[in-house]
């Protein structure tokens, strides 16, 4: 076993260690092509950084209390009207969060269509799916914090969907709400989840996610096809020793890369400059969006009156569509099925729990359905065409549901044609 020995030039070495934990020495020219991944992973990381920084600032002002004069809603009003740059920071946090949801979904699609979820990146695919869930959970918990009407009623609806989970539902709902209703306790729980518990999990998973990119031999590349042994953890193109599995083994701090000079470039400065450019571009877009489009703030939460129409955030509108459909004879089934006195499994179960659960399970199972990798790093590879078609169909369905929910639902959730 080798250990990393401290060098005399300690700060520099620490920086290098940090740098090399995130970056290989060289990177394949092909992976730097914009069209290789469209930079979606880097955009997502940039947005996370923006969200964390603005979120940190917002915590200086936010009070997680339902008190109408000194609580969450009042702090939103103060951000809006008296805190210098309060509107900007809040809107940046919000816009970055919205963009992030969009970008991670696109990132998922890109990875899927490129076949980058296959061996050896199966673990990282699961890791990414976990991150997707965390991003959605962060969005959802953050949605309640302003304590306005939309926030309150979205939480009421979502907690009732959680309550539709068989067996665990009631418990889950109570744990989320800290009681039977959305209240002060709920707000504090959501706050704790939003600013600590979920970010912590997210950083752990994100660290694993980024680290696995290196372990798995960098970005998926067509050159991996037909290689019987998996790329080495030591660098793109390096052949690993047999039986290495997925554990990293770094014989020396800075292993030489085996990428050839003409097919690759040093990551410094070629990759790092691109990272900087992407981060700056994200920052500019988010800040400009925040400058021109203020984050909305509705009326203060009012448990006595549901707003008209009560819509969730756009990324949950597909789900809201699903729970508002009639599932015909299915809706007459009971839980448990043999007990006719048990609760009826309504649309909140079929559309709100079962369908998303099946979808997510299918996504998790995808890498394990095919024994032999096929078309790694190639968009719409012919060998995976059916899975690509099914995936796109599912994605388009979700997009269509979201579109219907966003544009075609009027008061009382009635379908309207607005133009």
């Amino acid at each position: 076993m080798n250990t990393i020995t401290p060098t005399p030039d300690r700060p520099r070495s620490a920086y290098r260690n940090f740098y090399h934990h995130l970056h290989p020495l060289r990177i394949r020219r092909d992976s730097l092509r914009p069209a290789a991944t469209f930079g979606l992973g880097l955009i997502a990381v940039s947005l996370v950084i923006i969200i964390v920084l603005t979120g940190l600032l917002l915590m200086f002002h936010y009070v997680p209390s339902t008190d109408p004069t000194a609580g969450a809603y009042a702090s939103m009003q103060d951000l809006r009207w008296i805190v210098p740059f309060g509107r900007l920071v809040r809107a940046m946090h919000r816009w970055a969060a919205h963009f992030l949801v969009l970008v991670v979904v696109l990132h998922l699609a890109s990875v899927f269509l490129r076949g980058a979820f296959q061996v050896p990146r199966r673990t990282n695919w699961l890791c990414g799916l976990g991150l997707l869930l965390l991003v959605l959970a962060e969005s959802f918990t953050g949605y309640l914090l302003p304590w306005d009407q939309l926030a309150y009623w979205a939480t009421v609806v979502a907690s009732n969907i959680a309550g539709a989970v068989p067996l665990l539902g009631g418990w889950l709902r109570q744990v989320l709400l800290g009681g039977s209703d959305v209240s002060q306790v709920t707000l504090v729980r959501f706050y704790a989840l939003h600013v600590f518990a979920l970010p912590l999990l997210m950083f752990i998973l994100l660290a694993i996610h980024l680290w696995r990119v290196r372990i798995d031999g960098g970005l998926a590349h067509r050159s991996e096809n037909g290689v019987s042994v998996y790329p080495s953890p030591l660098g793109e193109g390096a052949a690993p020793a047999a039986g290495e599995g997925l554990r990293p083994r770094t014989p020396e701090p800075h292993p030489p890369t085996r990428l050839s000079e003409d097919s690759s470039l040093p990551t410094w400065p070629h990759l790092v400059l691109r990272e900087a450019a992407i981060f700056l571009a994200c920052l500019a877009v988010v800040a400009a969006a925040a400058l021109f489009f203020d984050a909305p703030l509705g009326e203060p939460a009012n448990p006595a009156h549901a707003p008209e129409p009560a819509k969730a955030a756009w990324y949950f509108l597909g789900l809201q569509e699903l729970v508002s459909y009639d599932y015909g004879p299915l809706s007459r089934l009971h839980w448990p099925p043999w007990n006719s006195a048990g609760p009826v499994l309504g649309p909140e179960f079929w559309g709100g729990v079962l369908l998303p659960f099946l979808l997510f399970t299918a996504l998790c199972a995808v890498p394990y359905l095919r024994a032999k990798p096929c078309g790694i790093g190639i968009y719409f590879a012919l060998g995976r065409r059916w899975s690509c078609i099914i995936f796109l169909a599912a994605l388009l369905t979700i997009a269509a549901l979201t579109f219907v929910g966003y544009f075609l639902r009027g008061p009382n959730w009635i379908l309207t044609w607005t133009w």
């Binding site: 200086f60 805190v83 210098p84 900007l88």
Partner: protein
């Protein structure tokens, strides 16, 4: 022209410096804005004037008024107002009636009934605050206005 000729700046070097410099300026501006953001916008939100009770509500001797953090001293129909905040580090002093002095519970400063320092660590006396009466005859103390000790007493 004794200076050594400046190194010719290469195109790459200029672009590098421009990128790093502009990024640094943007970061600096962002940091300034963040500092403004966390600075309270209403540091002195409360009025410094406190309307107290009618003079008759205060008994002979010292009375502590928690809302205004002051002591009202009454002698007959004469009134005086002393800040109750220790001039050392801001704890609220307590009136020690038997010894006729103000004791600070935090670091042991002691003041006379007139506010003068008897014992450190406090270095300055307790401020005597301006006491007036409002239109309804109630006492009015101006928390931010101190007066000379010889003008401390008002007669009702």
């Amino acid at each position: 022209m004794t200076d050594p000729a400046p190194q010719p700046l290469s195109r790459r070097g200029f672009l590098q410096a421009a990128a790093v410099g502009l990024a640094a300026v943007a970061t600096g501006l962002a940091a300034f804005m963040a500092a403004r953001f966390i600075t309270p916008a209403l540091p002195h939100a409360q009025l410094s004037d406190f309307t107290l009770d009618l003079p008759a509500a205060y008994p002979e001797g010292q009375s502590f008024v928690p809302t205004a953090r002051i002591f009202i001293e009454r002698r007959g129909n004469r009134f005086r107002c002393l800040s109750a905040e220790c001039t050392h580090l801001g704890c609220i002093v307590a009136w020690n009636a038997p010894r006729r002095e103000f004791d600070c519970p935090c670091h042991g400063s002691v003041f006379t009934a007139d506010g003068a320092v008897l014992k450190g660590p406090a270095a300055r006396p307790l401020p005597v605050l301006r006491l007036t009466r409002d239109a309804g005859g109630r006492l009015l103390v101006q928390r931010r206005t101190s007066v000379a000790p010889d003008q401390a007493w008002i007669t009702i």
